[in-house]
């Protein structure tokens, strides 16, 4: 029986990709390790290798086809001694979706055969976060002039555009980090920058976080405006001394003489199935340090407008992105110079019954939960903090005064968290407005496990948010 070869996933969150090129044609013999095709996503390009030996029977998806869903049968392979032409019709029996057809993904996922289990979309905690991040703000951003044309942009592109625009405007701005130049960014955030700005301003560093964080900080003290990319913030632990002791404190220690206008940026928080050392939210760490600005955007327009603001700031900024959000598309206003104010939260959904406060990827879950709750007659207001230091207490307290109930949603540990901080200042400054205790919905207090089922248990999801909200509303 012919073997069905399916569109592979290049990452745990990949849903679809482009079949860029076939390197084999029908009738070719292939053996294990032969490269059969090139597959692209917005994040990466990958060569697709044969695992089985056989003859290429039928190519079912033409090269250059975009949006091929993961799990779609893209070719069939006749085993040795099997008639390749006879193997071809096997594909017609397949019920997986045609690439351009409106696919029911879940159905496609269930397609399995014993020889080749379908690319299973494992139900993980990260997937819940990723799926929820399809939710958009339900309120117009007051900072965007009414009637502005919107362009669908991924968070990844928005970040790149922000850097490119600021680099065009200011010679002192440069980007340094691991794989930012020739490789185009480990997560493709710096894609195209090397071509436009050259290797003087887009600089590949050795794997040497402590060292290049110090070099960037020193360059900022000398008067440049570095953007230091950490491949992930997990690796910034090696460099945290410079972020805190050198960048954050020097202005104060020098009585205002030594400024340090630098941006430390990169993905933060849990990705998908990458284990404990690569899955941590450092927001509370940095947000506890006076002298730093800490920003953690959710959607693409905030990513762009706030990164531009961060680059222009005279202060050191820790800019926390999220890998699961990079590929998500949102509307970004088409404006020549879209810069957002640092330190202002954003109301993502208006409501009167309860306030759900979150930031970064937690905002998607908060919006999803709000949708569910609306169906049950609870009208939730969702606030995206956007900046974690300085924290926009005013917006939170104002919302609380309206709803009298508050739940904080944070993809991170509970102890000494941003959620704890919010609970503290709400107690101190908004106690009289509270009709119920503040509840925190956070990750479990454990290192993030690898096993899909345990990861799912450890991370937050919308159901947990719904449950907490009902509790503070004394409903269920």
């Amino acid at each position: 029986m012919a073997v069905e070869i399916k569109m592979p996933a290049l990452s745990p969150t990949m849903e679809e990709g482009t079949l860029a090129k076939w390197l084999v044609k029908e009738g070719d013999q292939v053996k294990s390790g032969d490269i059969m095709a090139e597959i692209e996503t917005d994040k990466a390009t990958m060569e697709f290798e044969a695992v089985d030996e056989g003859t290429v029977a039928k190519i079912l998806v033409a090269e250059g086809t975009d949006n091929v869903k993961v799990g779609t049968v893209i070719m069939t392979l006749a085993a040795e001694g099997e008639d390749a032409s006879a193997a071809a019709p096997a594909a017609t029996k397949d019920d997986s979706p045609a690439p351009q057809a409106k696919a029911d993904e879940k159905k496609a996922d269930k397609v399995e055969d014993s020889a080749h289990p379908a690319q299973e979309k494992v139900d993980t905690g990260a997937r819940q976060l990723f799926e929820a991040a399809a939710h958009k703000a339900e309120v117009e951003n007051p900072e965007v002039p009414a009637g502005t044309e919107m362009v669908k942009t991924t968070v990844r592109e928005a970040l790149r555009d922000a850097m490119a625009e600021e680099m065009r405007a200011d010679e002192r701005v440069f980007v340094m980090g691991e794989e930012v130049a020739q490789y185009q960014g480990a997560y493709k955030v710096t894609q195209g920058l090397l071509d436009e700005f050259g290797d003087k301003r887009v600089i590949d560093t050795p794997i040497t976080e402590y060292g290049f964080a110090g070099v960037g900080t020193g360059a900022a003290m000398g008067g440049l405006r570095p953007i230091v990319e950490f491949m992930t913030f997990n690796f910034a632990m090696q460099a945290i001394d410079h972020i805190i002791n050198s960048a954050a404190k020097t202005n104060y220690m020098s009585g205002g003489q030594m400024r340090c206008p630098i941006v430390f940026r990169g993905p933060n928080g849990a990705a998908s199935r990458v284990g404990a050392q690569h899955s941590q939210n450092y927001a509370p760490w940095y947000a506890s340090v006076p002298g730093l600005i800490v920003i953690a955007p959710y959607d693409a327009q905030d990513a762009k407008g706030l990164l531009k603001a961060a680059i222009r700031s005279e202060d050191p900024v820790v800019f926390l992105e999220n890998e699961l959000l990079y590929g998500r598309s949102f509307d970004v206003p088409k404006l020549d110079d879209f810069v957002l104010p640092i330190g202002k939260a954003r109301i993502m959904r208006e409501g009167k019954d309860v306030t759900i406060v979150s930031y970064s990827i937690g905002v998607g879950l908060a919006l999803e939960a709000a949708e569910t709750l609306a169906g049950e007659g609870i009208d939730a207001e969702v606030i995206d903090l956007r900046t974690l230091r300085p924290l926009d207490r005013k917006t939170v307290l104002k919302s609380l005064a309206k709803t009298n109930r508050i739940v904080v949603v944070e993809e991170g540990w509970p102890t000494c968290s941003i959620a704890s901080e919010i609970a503290a200042f709400v107690m101190e400054e908004g106690f009289d407005d509270l009709d119920a205790p503040i509840l925190r919905v956070t990750d479990e207090d454990v290192p993030l496990p690898y096993a899909a089922n345990l990861e799912k248990l450890a991370l937050i999801d919308a159901a947990k948010v719904v449950k907490a909200v009902k509790k503070v509303c004394y409903k269920g």
């Binding site: 290049f212 110090g214 001394d241 220690m253 009585g255 003489q257």
Partner: protein, 366 residues
């Protein structure tokens, strides 16, 4: 081409001698021929005015630090206070070779001497030590955290070795903006064992950054002698695996220091990348004021003071050149006066306004 540290007045026969003698003898070693290296530096030929200037600057540091030690004892200075006594020739010799218009300097927490060598008013330095509003950091930095962006002196850093990466960043800035400047980054023999130093060496050579790494080897990292902490105790060789040339210099001789600085600057300004200067020096006082210095004998310190003191060395040269005893006495009196005035100022000038607590945390308002 590398010379052993053999100061004519080194007190051979005590522990200092042992430290030096344990090092492998390298005088007959052929130079590694695979690449160009800086020439062996020649002692600087100072004219009488220059020599007198060196003397004044070094003596100012010495008397200033002695006074700081006194004020610490009286409770005017708190926290940590690391004195530069014994190492004066290094800062004075090296910094005298810099171009004040474009070069930058960065160092660790033992920073009073480097500030004074820049000609910064002793009053604002002393007032920083006493935590007063008139201090160069408004009293908010203290002994370890002093800066003068005006003079391109970038501090004053308290985490051992951090200034090496930061200095590499300053050198990056010099190259990026093409301002022709060179960064002089000082660190001690203790910092020379920090990982980020080698991360910085790697990038500095890889990108041919204009930086002179100055290892002030005063023989003790707090209480640990170099050879108890360093597998390669000839610290000028620490750049070899990064292809950074190193020069060992008699850090007790201001003319040797200046000569080495000129050679290093010529190398770096020619675009040949970084260079390491290992300055063999000695601190007379403890690591900080709270260090009883039990790890070395009183005799050892006294022997260095008697035989290799950098200030006495210059004084001798001046006398040989015919400078009169009275003239040197006058210099001494003037410096004591300056230092006393600085101390009086630092004791009497007011502490920062309470509102200063909240200023300078951030530059902008959000």
């Amino acid at each position: 081409m590398k010379q052993d540290y053999r100061h004519p007045h080194l007190p051979y026969g005590n522990e200092v001698f042992l430290i030096v003698a344990k090092a492998p003898v390298r005088t007959n070693e052929p130079p590694i021929p695979n690449r160009e290296r800086p020439a062996e530096p020649q002692p600087f030929e100072a004219n009488p005015e220059q020599l007198l200037q060196f003397y004044k600057e070094m003596l100012l540091i010495r008397r200033f630090e002695e006074k700081a030690g006194q004020l610490y004892g009286l409770g005017f200075i708190g926290g940590f206070c690391h004195l530069y006594i014994g190492q004066e020739a290094v800062a004075v010799g090296l910094q005298s070779a810099l171009d004040g218009e474009r070069d930058s300097v960065i160092t660790g927490y033992r920073d009073h001497g480097h500030m004074l060598a820049y000609g910064i008013d002793p009053k604002v330095i002393m007032a920083e030590l006493t935590g007063r509003a008139a201090g160069i950091s408004k009293g908010k930095g203290g002994s370890m955290h002093m800066f003068s962006t005006e003079k391109r002196f970038y501090g004053g850093h308290g985490i051992v070795g951090a200034q090496v990466s930061l200095g590499t960043g300053l050198a990056f800035k010099h190259k990026y903006s093409g301002d022709g400047g060179v960064c002089l980054a000082y660190f001690g023999d203790g910092a020379a064992n920090q990982g980020q130093v080698y991360e910085s060496f790697n990038m500095a050579e890889l990108w041919k950054l204009p930086i002179i790494f100055v290892i002030e080897n005063n023989q003790y990292a707090m209480g640990t002698s170099v050879n108890r902490a360093s597998s390669e105790d000839q610290l000028y060789r620490r750049g070899e695996s990064f292809r950074i040339p190193g020069i060992q210099v008699d850090g007790m001789d201001v003319l040797a220091c200046r000569g080495a600085a000129e050679e290093a600057l010529a190398w770096v300004r020619a675009g040949k990348g970084p260079v390491i200067l290992e300055m063999k020096t000695y601190r007379y006082r403890g690591h900080s004021m709270s260090d009883p210095a039990k790890y070395r004998s009183r005799d050892e310190v006294q022997a260095v003071r008697d035989k290799s003191d950098p200030i006495e060395h210059v004084k001798r040269l001046l006398t040989e050149q015919g400078v009169k005893e009275e003239e040197l006495k006058k210099v001494e009196q003037d410096i004591r006066k300056t230092v006393n005035e600085a101390a009086d100022f630092a004791e009497s000038t007011p502490e920062p306004e309470v509102g200063e607590l909240y200023t300078d945390v951030l530059v902008e308002t959000y």
